[in-house]
Amino acid sequence: MTADTLAAPRSPQIRKKGPNLEKWGWIYMRASGVLLVVLIFGHLFVNLMLGEGIHGIDFAFVAGKFATPFWQWWDVLMLWLALIHGANGMRTIVNDYVTGATARTVLIWAIWLSAGLLILLGTLVVFTFDPCLGVTESSMLWEKCTS
Protein backbone atom coordinates (compact mmCIF):
# COMPACT_ATOMS: atom_id res chain seq x y z
CA MET A 1 0.00 0.00 0.00
CA THR A 2 1.41 3.40 -0.89
CA ALA A 3 0.62 6.81 0.54
CA ASP A 4 -1.55 7.57 -2.51
CA THR A 5 -4.12 4.97 -1.49
CA LEU A 6 -4.55 6.22 2.10
CA ALA A 7 -7.90 7.83 2.81
CA ALA A 8 -7.99 11.49 3.89
CA PRO A 9 -7.69 11.84 7.70
CA ARG A 10 -11.28 12.96 8.27
CA SER A 11 -13.09 10.59 5.95
CA PRO A 12 -15.69 8.50 7.82
CA GLN A 13 -14.42 5.15 8.98
CA ILE A 14 -16.28 2.01 8.03
CA ARG A 15 -15.78 -0.67 10.63
CA LYS A 16 -16.71 -4.30 10.80
CA LYS A 17 -19.25 -5.34 13.42
CA GLY A 18 -18.04 -6.81 16.68
CA PRO A 19 -15.78 -5.54 19.45
CA ASN A 20 -13.21 -2.90 18.49
CA LEU A 21 -10.09 -4.85 19.44
CA GLU A 22 -7.72 -1.99 18.62
CA LYS A 23 -9.59 0.23 21.07
CA TRP A 24 -9.39 -2.42 23.79
CA GLY A 25 -5.70 -2.82 23.01
CA TRP A 26 -5.25 0.92 23.45
CA ILE A 27 -7.08 0.83 26.79
CA TYR A 28 -5.16 -2.29 27.89
CA MET A 29 -1.78 -0.65 27.26
CA ARG A 30 -2.69 2.24 29.55
CA ALA A 31 -4.42 0.26 32.31
CA SER A 32 -1.72 -2.45 32.44
CA GLY A 33 0.98 0.21 32.15
CA VAL A 34 -0.11 1.94 35.35
CA LEU A 35 -0.28 -1.38 37.25
CA LEU A 36 3.10 -2.47 35.85
CA VAL A 37 4.79 0.71 37.09
CA VAL A 38 3.73 -0.24 40.64
CA LEU A 39 4.45 -3.98 40.27
CA ILE A 40 7.85 -3.64 38.56
CA PHE A 41 9.10 -0.76 40.73
CA GLY A 42 8.13 -2.85 43.78
CA HIS A 43 9.83 -5.92 42.30
CA LEU A 44 13.08 -4.02 41.59
CA PHE A 45 13.07 -2.28 44.97
CA VAL A 46 12.57 -5.46 47.01
CA ASN A 47 15.03 -7.56 44.96
CA LEU A 48 17.81 -5.08 44.19
CA MET A 49 17.65 -2.26 46.75
CA LEU A 50 16.70 -3.91 50.06
CA GLY A 51 18.93 -6.28 52.06
CA GLU A 52 22.03 -7.44 50.22
CA GLY A 53 20.69 -6.28 46.86
CA ILE A 54 21.59 -8.53 43.95
CA HIS A 55 23.93 -10.66 46.07
CA GLY A 56 20.95 -11.78 48.12
CA ILE A 57 19.20 -13.32 45.12
CA ASP A 58 19.58 -17.10 45.07
CA PHE A 59 17.43 -20.22 45.27
CA ALA A 60 16.59 -19.64 48.95
CA PHE A 61 15.51 -16.04 48.30
CA VAL A 62 13.12 -17.00 45.51
CA ALA A 63 11.90 -20.10 47.41
CA GLY A 64 11.08 -17.76 50.32
CA LYS A 65 9.09 -15.47 48.05
CA PHE A 66 7.18 -18.33 46.40
CA ALA A 67 6.26 -19.67 49.84
CA THR A 68 3.87 -16.72 50.34
CA PRO A 69 0.71 -16.27 48.25
CA PHE A 70 1.34 -12.49 48.26
CA TRP A 71 4.54 -12.74 46.20
CA GLN A 72 3.18 -15.62 44.12
CA TRP A 73 0.28 -13.45 42.99
CA TRP A 74 2.49 -10.38 42.65
CA ASP A 75 4.81 -12.26 40.27
CA VAL A 76 2.05 -13.99 38.32
CA LEU A 77 0.13 -10.74 37.84
CA MET A 78 3.36 -9.06 36.69
CA LEU A 79 4.03 -11.98 34.32
CA TRP A 80 0.63 -11.84 32.62
CA LEU A 81 0.35 -8.06 32.43
CA ALA A 82 3.94 -7.52 31.24
CA LEU A 83 4.02 -10.24 28.58
CA ILE A 84 0.69 -9.20 27.08
CA HIS A 85 1.72 -5.51 27.23
CA GLY A 86 5.08 -6.33 25.63
CA ALA A 87 3.60 -8.61 22.97
CA ASN A 88 1.01 -6.00 22.01
CA GLY A 89 3.74 -3.35 21.80
CA MET A 90 5.83 -5.61 19.57
CA ARG A 91 2.73 -6.23 17.42
CA THR A 92 2.34 -2.45 16.97
CA ILE A 93 5.98 -2.15 15.91
CA VAL A 94 5.70 -5.07 13.47
CA ASN A 95 2.57 -3.51 11.97
CA ASP A 96 4.50 -0.24 11.52
CA TYR A 97 7.63 -1.58 9.88
CA VAL A 98 6.89 -4.95 8.27
CA THR A 99 5.21 -4.31 4.94
CA GLY A 100 5.00 -7.87 3.58
CA ALA A 101 1.67 -9.47 4.55
CA THR A 102 3.13 -12.97 5.04
CA ALA A 103 6.09 -11.81 7.10
CA ARG A 104 3.74 -9.72 9.24
CA THR A 105 1.39 -12.63 9.90
CA VAL A 106 4.28 -14.94 10.78
CA LEU A 107 5.94 -12.42 13.11
CA ILE A 108 2.73 -11.53 14.94
CA TRP A 109 1.96 -15.24 15.40
CA ALA A 110 5.50 -15.78 16.72
CA ILE A 111 5.09 -12.90 19.19
CA TRP A 112 1.80 -14.16 20.64
CA LEU A 113 3.01 -17.76 20.64
CA SER A 114 6.18 -16.95 22.62
CA ALA A 115 4.25 -14.71 25.01
CA GLY A 116 1.60 -17.41 25.52
CA LEU A 117 4.15 -20.16 26.15
CA LEU A 118 6.08 -18.03 28.65
CA ILE A 119 2.87 -17.06 30.48
CA LEU A 120 2.00 -20.75 30.73
CA LEU A 121 5.52 -21.70 31.85
CA GLY A 122 5.81 -18.88 34.39
CA THR A 123 2.36 -19.51 35.89
CA LEU A 124 3.07 -23.24 36.27
CA VAL A 125 6.47 -22.56 37.84
CA VAL A 126 5.05 -20.16 40.42
CA PHE A 127 2.11 -22.34 41.47
CA THR A 128 3.73 -25.79 41.28
CA PHE A 129 7.01 -24.75 42.90
CA ASP A 130 8.21 -27.12 45.61
CA PRO A 131 11.69 -26.56 47.07
CA CYS A 132 12.35 -30.31 47.21
CA LEU A 133 11.69 -31.06 43.54
CA GLY A 134 14.78 -31.85 41.51
CA VAL A 135 16.88 -32.27 44.65
CA THR A 136 19.43 -35.08 44.24
CA GLU A 137 21.80 -36.68 46.72
CA SER A 138 24.56 -34.26 45.76
CA SER A 139 22.33 -31.26 46.42
CA MET A 140 22.61 -28.86 49.34
CA LEU A 141 18.93 -29.47 50.14
CA TRP A 142 19.15 -33.30 50.21
CA GLU A 143 19.21 -33.68 54.01
CA LYS A 144 16.43 -31.21 54.66
CA CYS A 145 14.20 -32.70 51.98
CA THR A 146 14.64 -36.32 52.99
CA SER A 147 14.42 -35.93 56.75
Binding site: V34, I40, I54, F59, L83, V125, P131, S139
Partner: protein, 144 residues
Protein backbone atom coordinates in the same frame (compact mmCIF):
# COMPACT_ATOMS: atom_id res chain seq x y z
CA UNK B 1 -14.57 32.37 11.13
CA UNK B 2 -13.44 28.85 10.53
CA UNK B 3 -9.81 27.85 10.74
CA UNK B 4 -8.13 27.27 7.39
CA UNK B 5 -8.12 23.61 6.41
CA UNK B 6 -4.83 21.96 7.24
CA UNK B 7 -3.09 20.67 4.17
CA UNK B 8 -1.83 17.12 4.37
CA UNK B 9 1.90 17.36 3.63
CA UNK B 10 3.14 15.49 0.59
CA UNK B 11 5.47 12.52 0.98
CA UNK B 12 8.36 14.67 -0.31
CA UNK B 13 7.69 17.18 2.48
CA UNK B 14 7.41 14.65 5.30
CA UNK B 15 10.66 12.96 4.28
CA UNK B 16 12.48 16.27 3.83
CA UNK B 17 15.52 16.82 6.01
CA UNK B 18 14.05 20.08 7.32
CA UNK B 19 11.26 19.49 9.87
CA UNK B 20 8.34 21.86 9.33
CA UNK B 21 4.84 22.76 10.38
CA UNK B 22 3.18 20.82 13.15
CA UNK B 23 5.16 17.66 12.48
CA UNK B 24 6.77 15.97 15.48
CA UNK B 25 9.88 15.36 13.44
CA UNK B 26 13.13 16.42 15.11
CA UNK B 27 11.40 17.69 18.26
CA UNK B 28 10.85 16.34 21.77
CA UNK B 29 7.71 14.51 20.64
CA UNK B 30 9.68 12.44 18.16
CA UNK B 31 12.56 11.61 20.49
CA UNK B 32 10.21 10.65 23.33
CA UNK B 33 8.53 8.22 20.90
CA UNK B 34 11.81 6.84 19.52
CA UNK B 35 13.12 6.16 23.05
CA UNK B 36 9.79 4.63 24.10
CA UNK B 37 10.03 2.12 21.24
CA UNK B 38 13.71 1.26 21.76
CA UNK B 39 13.31 0.80 25.52
CA UNK B 40 10.11 -1.20 24.97
CA UNK B 41 11.80 -3.64 22.58
CA UNK B 42 14.80 -4.03 24.90
CA UNK B 43 12.58 -4.72 27.92
CA UNK B 44 10.50 -7.25 25.96
CA UNK B 45 13.55 -9.32 25.02
CA UNK B 46 14.91 -9.14 28.55
CA UNK B 47 11.54 -10.33 29.83
CA UNK B 48 11.64 -13.41 27.59
CA UNK B 49 15.04 -14.36 29.02
CA UNK B 50 14.09 -13.44 32.58
CA UNK B 51 11.03 -15.75 32.66
CA UNK B 52 13.23 -18.61 31.38
CA UNK B 53 16.02 -18.03 33.93
CA UNK B 54 13.51 -17.79 36.79
CA UNK B 55 11.84 -20.99 35.56
CA UNK B 56 15.07 -22.83 36.47
CA UNK B 57 13.93 -22.52 40.11
CA UNK B 58 11.62 -25.42 39.23
CA UNK B 59 14.52 -27.54 37.93
CA UNK B 60 16.95 -27.60 40.85
CA UNK B 61 18.60 -25.22 43.36
CA UNK B 62 21.98 -25.73 41.65
CA UNK B 63 20.66 -24.93 38.16
CA UNK B 64 19.03 -21.72 39.38
CA UNK B 65 22.03 -20.55 41.41
CA UNK B 66 24.44 -21.24 38.55
CA UNK B 67 22.50 -19.12 36.08
CA UNK B 68 21.54 -16.34 38.49
CA UNK B 69 25.23 -16.19 39.49
CA UNK B 70 26.06 -14.85 36.03
CA UNK B 71 23.88 -11.80 36.77
CA UNK B 72 26.19 -10.89 39.65
CA UNK B 73 29.39 -10.15 37.75
CA UNK B 74 30.28 -6.46 37.29
CA UNK B 75 29.65 -6.38 33.53
CA UNK B 76 26.14 -7.72 34.00
CA UNK B 77 25.80 -5.27 36.92
CA UNK B 78 26.28 -2.39 34.51
CA UNK B 79 23.81 -4.09 32.16
CA UNK B 80 21.29 -4.08 35.02
CA UNK B 81 21.75 -0.33 35.41
CA UNK B 82 21.02 0.04 31.69
CA UNK B 83 17.96 -2.21 32.05
CA UNK B 84 16.63 -0.23 35.01
CA UNK B 85 17.30 3.01 33.10
CA UNK B 86 15.24 1.65 30.18
CA UNK B 87 12.40 0.49 32.46
CA UNK B 88 12.26 3.78 34.38
CA UNK B 89 12.18 5.81 31.14
CA UNK B 90 9.45 3.59 29.67
CA UNK B 91 7.45 3.83 32.93
CA UNK B 92 7.60 7.61 33.35
CA UNK B 93 7.16 8.38 29.65
CA UNK B 94 4.24 5.93 29.59
CA UNK B 95 2.56 7.86 32.41
CA UNK B 96 3.20 11.04 30.40
CA UNK B 97 1.52 9.47 27.35
CA UNK B 98 -1.55 8.60 29.45
CA UNK B 99 -1.69 12.17 30.77
CA UNK B 100 -1.29 13.63 27.27
CA UNK B 101 -4.10 11.39 25.99
CA UNK B 102 -6.58 12.07 28.77
CA UNK B 103 -5.93 15.60 30.06
CA UNK B 104 -6.03 18.65 27.73
CA UNK B 105 -3.60 20.63 29.91
CA UNK B 106 -1.04 17.84 29.58
CA UNK B 107 -1.60 17.71 25.81
CA UNK B 108 -0.69 21.39 25.57
CA UNK B 109 2.36 20.89 27.78
CA UNK B 110 3.58 17.54 26.41
CA UNK B 111 6.97 19.08 25.61
CA UNK B 112 7.60 20.42 29.13
CA UNK B 113 6.27 17.18 30.60
CA UNK B 114 8.88 15.26 28.62
CA UNK B 115 11.69 17.31 30.15
CA UNK B 116 10.05 16.62 33.50
CA UNK B 117 10.12 12.89 32.69
CA UNK B 118 13.84 13.14 31.91
CA UNK B 119 14.50 14.95 35.20
CA UNK B 120 12.63 12.38 37.33
CA UNK B 121 14.26 9.61 35.28
CA UNK B 122 17.76 10.97 35.98
CA UNK B 123 17.07 11.25 39.73
CA UNK B 124 15.67 7.69 39.89
CA UNK B 125 18.52 6.15 37.88
CA UNK B 126 21.16 7.96 39.98
CA UNK B 127 19.39 6.77 43.15
CA UNK B 128 19.40 3.19 41.89
CA UNK B 129 23.03 3.34 40.70
CA UNK B 130 24.30 4.66 44.03
CA UNK B 131 22.90 1.53 45.67
CA UNK B 132 23.53 -1.03 42.94
CA UNK B 133 26.96 -0.22 41.42
CA UNK B 134 29.04 -0.29 44.65
CA UNK B 135 27.13 -3.47 45.59
CA UNK B 136 28.00 -5.16 42.29
CA UNK B 137 31.69 -4.19 42.45
CA UNK B 138 32.08 -4.98 46.15
CA UNK B 139 32.47 -8.74 45.60
CA UNK B 140 34.85 -8.52 42.66
CA UNK B 141 37.56 -11.12 42.64
CA UNK B 142 35.80 -13.54 44.96
CA UNK B 143 33.11 -16.14 44.34
CA UNK B 144 31.40 -15.89 41.01
Amino acid sequence: MSAPARVTPSVAQTTSKTPRGTLYRGNEGMWSWVLHRITGIAIFFFLLVHVLDTALIRVSPEAYDAVIGTYKNPIMGLGEVALVAAIVYHAFNGLRIIAVDLWPWATRHQRQLWWGVLAVWAVTVVGFSVRHIPNVFSEMGGGH
